[in-house]
Homo-oligomer: 413 residues x 2
């Protein structure tokens, strides 16, 4: 008697969670193209190869495991990303890749001899979704969908000057495979919020991504002795950057609760020396809202704050780069398919929004797409304590398997 689907998934989940494990926690640290990322990629390769899939990498390190059921037919892609933030949870994208792998193995087995399949199957592990080591995030799916040039992506450097090309070649994960022709795309992910867990929803049917306006900001002051320079003579870039961090948080209070999220996650200071007034600070400041009106009003208010702070601290504040998108809907046909699967399986479900971006945010622009969520306890995300129950993980695998089966049999064609 073999192991059940459930046991097989949980065994593999335990094995996958060991790569890049952070000592003393249940979390992981496996940023894009680091050694732990290489290890988990080779493990995934072995898992799917042993099930008869053929594994390729493309030039930006996306990993595709192909199973041809219908010679010459296009592929249903299903997957997410294995890379993580530093000291992050083990679920995030990794759950979606493994759920897709198990769904693909089961679907391939069940359809290999029935003749129902009209599509082929490909499991995908997108390169560098997180964007912590190399910017921008969602790099692999952005190149795949033509939103980012391959050359620009490969030339991107990390903080130590290592390029994406060098890092991928360093772990042996840069390939030359031609991307499979895409019929449709399916992704499952943990929610990264706590609404589903609190409302008893097992399967989230993702209907849209929040709008966002992201700014890379450079503050330019002037180096000075931080002890002896007169206070009124200083042009302190760190002080002005700090006022921006506080201003971004204060913006939230101008709108109804939950309508605006703001953050500064990254701040670099130069020269960052104990007795030197900083001459430069660079920060990444994000505004996010489900409402285009709120996002526009918050952006305008931020611009006013930037002017006020620049004048007060006699520094330059410059937007080096910005990237904005509106509330971004998923296709209704995909939502209907997912709803009918969840409903027929008796899984509590609801339409949900995603605040975070996902690789499906790119993929839905080039192919019919289904995006599913499972709950996350307390919504803990990008944190070693991220947690989803086994029951919810397994329910998500079941839903993914059935949606995948229907897609391979021609749904959303």
């Amino acid at each position: 008697m073999g192991v059940s689907h459930e046991e097989a998934f949980l065994d593999d989940w335990s094995a996958l969670s060991a790569f890049g494990a952070v000592a003393g926690t249940t979390g992981v640290d496996r940023q894009a193209a680091t050694e732990p990322d290489g290890e988990q990629r080779r493990w995934l390769d072995a898992l799917l190869t042993s099930e008869g899939f053929t594994v390729h990498r493309d030039a930006i390190g996306n990993q595709f495991a192909l199973c041809e059921l219908v010679p010459g037919a296009p592929y249903v892609l299903t997957g997410s990303h294995l890379d993580s933030q530093p000291t992050a949870g083990r679920f995030d994208g990794a759950y979606g890749v493994l759920a897709s792998a198990h769904a693909a193995i089961r679907t391939a087995c069940s359809l290999r001899e029935t003749g129902e399949a009209t599509r082929n199957i490909a499991v995908v592990n997108w390169f560098n979704e997180e964007g912590s080591r190399f910017k921008p995030s969602m790099m692999g799916s952005s190149v795949f969908t033509g939103k980012l040039s391959l050359e620009d992506a490969l030339a991107t450097v990390d903080r130590h000057g290592v390029t994406v090309r060098e890092a991928l070649e360093g772990i042996g994960e840069r390939g030359d495979a031609v991307a499979p022709e895409v019929a449709s795309y399916l992704e499952i992910h943990v929610e990264q919020g706590r609404a589903m867990a609190e409302n008893g929803i097992t399967i989230g049917l993702v209907e849209a991504t929040w709008g966002a306006h992201k700014f890379e900001i450079r503050v330019t002051g002037e180096q000075a002795h931080s002890g002896s320079a007169l206070m009124r003579d200083r042009r302190d870039a760190l002080l002005a950057a700090s006022r921006l961090v506080v201003a971004a948080r204060d913006l939230v209070e101008r709108f109804p609760e939950g309508m605006l999220h703001t953050a500064v996650g990254e701040l670099h200071v130069y020269p960052n020396s104990p007795v030197v007034v900083a001459s430069e600070a660079r920060l990444l400041l994000d505004l996010r809202s489900e409402s285009a009106e709120v996002l526009a009003a918050a952006t305008a208010a931020l611009m006013a704050e930037m002017e006020r702070i620049a004048a007060k601290d006699r520094v330059g504040i410059e937007i080096v780069a910005e990237h904005a998108w509106d509330r971004n809907p998923y296709g209704e046909a995909g939502l209907a398919l997912a709803r009918s699967v969840a409903s027929e399986m008796g899984l509590p479900h609801a339409r949900v929004l995603t605040i975070a971006g996902h690789d499906s945010t790119n993929m839905k622009d080039i192919a019919p797409t289904v995006m599913l969520f499972v709950p996350s306890v307390d919504g803990v995300s990008h944190n070693v304590n991220e947690y989803t129950t086994d029951a919810d993980l397994l329910a998500g695998v079941e839903a993914t398997t059935e949606v995948l089966r229907r897609l391979v049999c021609g749904a959303l064609s």
Copy 2:
């Protein structure tokens, strides 16, 4: 006909200023025990060796150039530090070392045959006064004066985990010389403020160092997804650290102008990733005042701000280390000696305070000490545009030479 003292000094000054020159500026970047620091040290060694001095390094990399005029007598030490902040001015400590070297060469020549000398002469280049690469600052003179243990200093690491021991050995500047016995100490430095330049003072007679209270602070929050986590759930270490930076600046306004200087020069954020709420921030926050009462009141106010911010942002704020000193006077005998020299030379002079610490701050606690300043145009310091006129540089060399001559002939014994 040989070159004049003035031409000789300015030629050497030009040569010294080339080490670690920052392209496109008149500044330098030669942090402690980096390659440019090694180069300038070898150059100083050659300069003084060619004049008959014997050059040694001690175990913490302090460089001593000895000239024995009176066998067995103790030494008058004169010097400062050659290391710089990142992208700093070329004057700072380097001027004091070169002024001392020229003063020592001239004094040795003039006294070698007269029999007036009762002391020997040593030029000193203290290791790592700046503290930018390795903390704490004034490392070499702190070890020399017994305020810091040699073992602790050698084990200190930079941001890349390189120890002081490794860095010094890497540039071949760790020695085993026994420190010379000290009779007295003389240092000259640029002011790092603009009061002297604005008031027409050529020679500053340093009477005291401002008091200071320096804090290394750790803010502890919790990693979260910086997009999707609810704002009210966040415990953002960068936000709280930013409030501390602003609070430190705001403290200044509670006291009469010029009575309190505050700064945060260094801030490190973890994980410092674009879509992660920071779980930790570390900052160096300094308060400085000439008044003990102001310093105490500012310290109390800062503690209250820390409590308020910790409660508001639900983070931990912990003082990891602190270091405080009161207004710290120089000896009156040294001041009187310096005043009589400046007066007899017809150089405009006045008693001044130093806000910044210097190696003489350490040395005055173990030996009679004279600390001189020359003016700095606009007080620009720790900045590539730092500037002192040739006339002031040369006046400082003259004053240093005459004070040194008197010390070697027994003044302050």
